[in-house]
Symmetry: C2
Subunit: 531 residues, 2 copies
């Protein structure tokens, strides 16, 4: 014991907030990423890969949690005393890339990128410190059509990965509208940054607490069912009335299909088709008119935001992306400080359950918006840009809930090692099967037959290949194929152990030189039976 104690062994453990990805998940995830990639390519975006870390000053700090200024990134110093940080998103490195390569790039520059990002934040259930994003951005695009395109791209991605129309929605808002509101209620000064953040947070809670909840949060505060108290923004009645009036105008413009002017049942015009009260129609013209005349009439930026929203709606409608797919939602905030115009997020509208089978508030699977100032950090000139980001793990979780993820890879054929002296013969069989494109391996562990059969089971091997002395030395060399899939089916029917052993069901012998063909037939039979 004394000797052993001398060696201090490290403990095998995962870093906090990290996880290992398993085979089934990786394959399904890759299949999903390929579908997203195909849509991005279809839209004319080009791939770009930037390094995992950047100089900290070049990366800047544009994290959603602006109120936790010290948290966020993983950083380290290099040997010449410059600070480096692991990227926390794919947008900041894009800004660095564009600034560095501006002259040589096509304008607009349209790129997509995917990869890990890292956040030095408190991990929680489903909240990891490393996760994958999949972004598309257009840099050097001043027109609203570029933003509209991002929303349509997001909608197309949803359908490409297997979410049916009506099971998702892209909700759109515009930062200029929110800036207009801020102006009107007299909080435009930077000294009110904190208060305004609370206002935005309150608006963001509309989905959860309804308009009455928002009212409380804009005022003194709100106590939830558990008794927890959330402090409010402490606006005065006039301020609250303006902000609530803005949201109410939206709510009142949603009218039941039966009361609308819509002549025929046109899916594309529908809003919340599956709501308990039946489908709604958004009377967009009325709403925008009200906003213009009664809310934003004195705010230039607000009016500009309303106009941009209207222009985008026209593009959606013309291109056939009606309100069932892309909808206005004045409560969409998006956390990032750098957005300057249209913002949007993608939500799934079907039920997603947690591990305990409870339906959870799932939130968005991605989003984006316009950020005209990000490249300006380096260049000093404004370069208009717009983009979107998909939270790959969240989308994956949503697809899992839908049952839309399948890994069709079967386990490998397993060639058993009956006799260690004859391993070269087994290896030859294995390579023959592989050369024929059949997923296969020879057992390379150190254990006997029992362990080998257990291993075959654990790996999900459809068959094992067996050759003992009898088969080897037969007048004509033979090999035995044991069909584990069929065997497992049969074993459910046969209860008598003895009968099982003697019958050796789902097991047959073929001539050695017919091995590949015979395995192929078994696999074909499985696919035929199963598919």
């Amino acid at each position: 014991m004394s000797k052993k104690n001398k060696t201090r062994r490290p403990k095998a453990r995962l870093p906090k907030g990290m996880r290992d990805g398993q085979a089934r998940e990786i394959r399904a995830m890759n299949a999903m990423l390929e579908k997203i990639r195909a849509v991005y390519e279809l839209y004319g975006f080009e791939p770009l890969e930037t390094p995992a870390f950047e100089y900290s000053d070049a990366l800047g700090k544009f994290l959603p949690d602006q109120d936790r200024p010290n948290a966020g990134v993983f950083s380290f110093e290099d040997e010449d005393k410059q600070w480096l940080s692991l990227r926390y998103d794919l947008t900041a490195p894009l800004a660095r890339y564009v600034a560095l390569n501006y002259d040589g790039l096509p304008k607009p520059y349209r790129r997509y990128a995917t990869g890990s990002v890292w956040r030095n934040e408190k991990p929680g259930p489903g909240r990891f410190r490393q996760f994958t994003q999949f972004d598309a951005d257009t840099v050097g695009a001043p027109v609203g059509a570029a933003d509209a395109e991002m929303c349509m791209l997001m909608a197309d991605v949803m359908e490409a990965v297997g979410i049916k129309r009506g099971d998702y929605v892209i909700r759109v808002n515009n930062r200029k509208i929110l800036d207009g509101l801020r102006e009107i209620v007299g909080l435009a000064d930077s000294e009110h940054d904190g208060k305004w953040l609370t206002v935005l947070r309150s608006l963001d809670k509309y989905d959860k607490f309804g308009i009455d909840g928002v009212k409380l949060l804009l005022g003194t505060g709100r106590k939830d069912d558990s008794g927890d108290y959330t402090k409010g923004a402490e606006l005065d009645d006039n301020q609250i009335q303006i902000i609530v009036g803005f949201v109410i105008q939206f709510i009142e413009s949603l009218i039941p299909l039966s009361e609308s002017n819509l002549e025929e049942d046109h899916d594309e015009k529908l809003f919340n088709k599956d709501s308990a009260e039946g489908p709604y129609v958004l009377e967009t013209d009325d709403m925008l008119e009200e906003w213009r005349e009664n809310i934003f009439h004195e705010s230039e930026i607000g009016l500009q935001g309303v106009q941009e929203l209207e222009d985008m709606l026209n593009l959606f409608e013309s291109a056939g992306y009606g309100t069932l797919r892309i909808q206005i939602d004045p409560s969409v905030i998006r956390g990032l400080e750098y957005y300057t115009g249209p913002v949007f997020e993608a939500e799934v509208t079907f039920d997603v359950k947690n591990d305990k089978g409870q339906v959870i508030q799932f939130g968005s699977v991605g989003g984006g918006g316009r950020y005209d100032g990000l490249v300006a950090r380096f260049k000093g000139i404004e370069i208009p840009a717009t983009g979107m980001s998909i939270g790959v793990s969240r989308l994956y979780t949503a697809l899992q809930a839908l049952g839309e993820l399948e890994d069709e890879t079967t386990g490998p054929m397993l060639v058993l090692v009956m006799d260690k002296e004859r391993i070269a013969d087994y290896q030859k069989m294995t390579q023959e099967l592989r050369a024929a494109g059949i997923r296969c391996e020879m057992y390379v562990g150190g254990s006997g037959m029992r362990a080998q059969m257990k291993y075959a089971d654990k790996r999900g091997a459809p068959c094992v290949i067996i050759q003992g002395d009898d088969e080897r030395n037969a007048e004509e060399e033979m090999v035995t194929i044991k069909d584990l899939v069929e065997g497992s089916e049969l074993s459910k029917q046969i209860t008598d152990n003895k009968e099982w052993r003697e019958g050796r069901p789902a097991q047959f012998s073929v001539k050695r030189d017919e091995l590949v063909e015979a395995v192929r037939l078994v696999l074909k039979r499985h696919t035929g039976q199963e598919g």
Copy 2:
């Protein structure tokens, strides 16, 4: 000026030793990775993904440059004062994963993994601080067949990515043979570690300097053509004679095909087929016999190594992987300290040129070997393991030299914006083309026609779609397709500018509702012409 100076702008720059990956390269790289993945799957390996960083103590430090103990990894401290390091390879995280999940894993556990790794080393030409590896490993596999399989897997990968048989070779050695040599020449004590490292480095130079160069390096040292002097290992004559004798036995067992007993011309038996003196055959039996009787007769570990090598050769031969694909090479060292048995590396044998067109010493594109001690760091019990790693960037560079990499993605169709008021119409065309699976975009920049045509050219757009007022207002709405590929061909033939402008070659109009079909025909014609 005074105002501007107040804003300190960060400089857009790449971290030292880092690079950005461009579209063409990313697409070709992904296609290559998919081919590798398919072979790994065929061999029955399962994917695994571990995080980018690990606790530093769990990762350990097994870098090739053992003589620079302070260099190597990028590390940082987390908030509870534990050190984390970015992974420098994919093997150390595998050891952590296996130790953490040992009981639940199938045994043997066969996994593949790909991803970035990071080395805090001095960057140089073609030597970056972030690069990609693609590994396969079998943990819990004590038998030599598991090592042999790795070599065959490596050979199959070479062919899968497009390197013809004869254009690559997998060179195999065994650490136990080298350990045997070390024992025989009396350098087994750890006090001789440094000296032995110099011996291994000298052996490693056999390819470059031949046996005479190795002799000098084992002795006092060697002066190269430029006058630079490399200090030798300073072995005595007897020691040098043993080591050189070991290599010479290998060289002498390589005999020209014409002098061999080989009755027919059997490609699989050939060694260095393309050498100036014609093909060789390795008289393996003679060589191994000599090694056993005259070199390693007094070293148990040496004899064990020779036996392991012989067993592997039998497996290769039986499975049809003869010496043209997998060859013994006693000068293969592999840098990593943790190897304990068979080691091998994959080399391309065709010429690879650098940027200046000079043929360069290209070295290996991957390799691997047996490491029975790595998981033992955590578990205290030895868990035999063997694996291989592909240096993805190096393999990519080799394939570039072969011309085996192609990105067949064409640029997107471009719908021009002739009239900003009618952007919704252009957007509709764009979405129609996309819905038909045609890569397409509408111009979303802010510039006029000239810039739009330049953009189309820069993006490699096969066509642009144009609709002005004339076409829009025609009795039947029309749209013009300008074929840029054909246009570029024609412009080579037409030298008269006026004739060009008037003829408007490669440009034609179709009815608006026939747009998709017409674009499809143009694309089909291109593929027909080009392919």
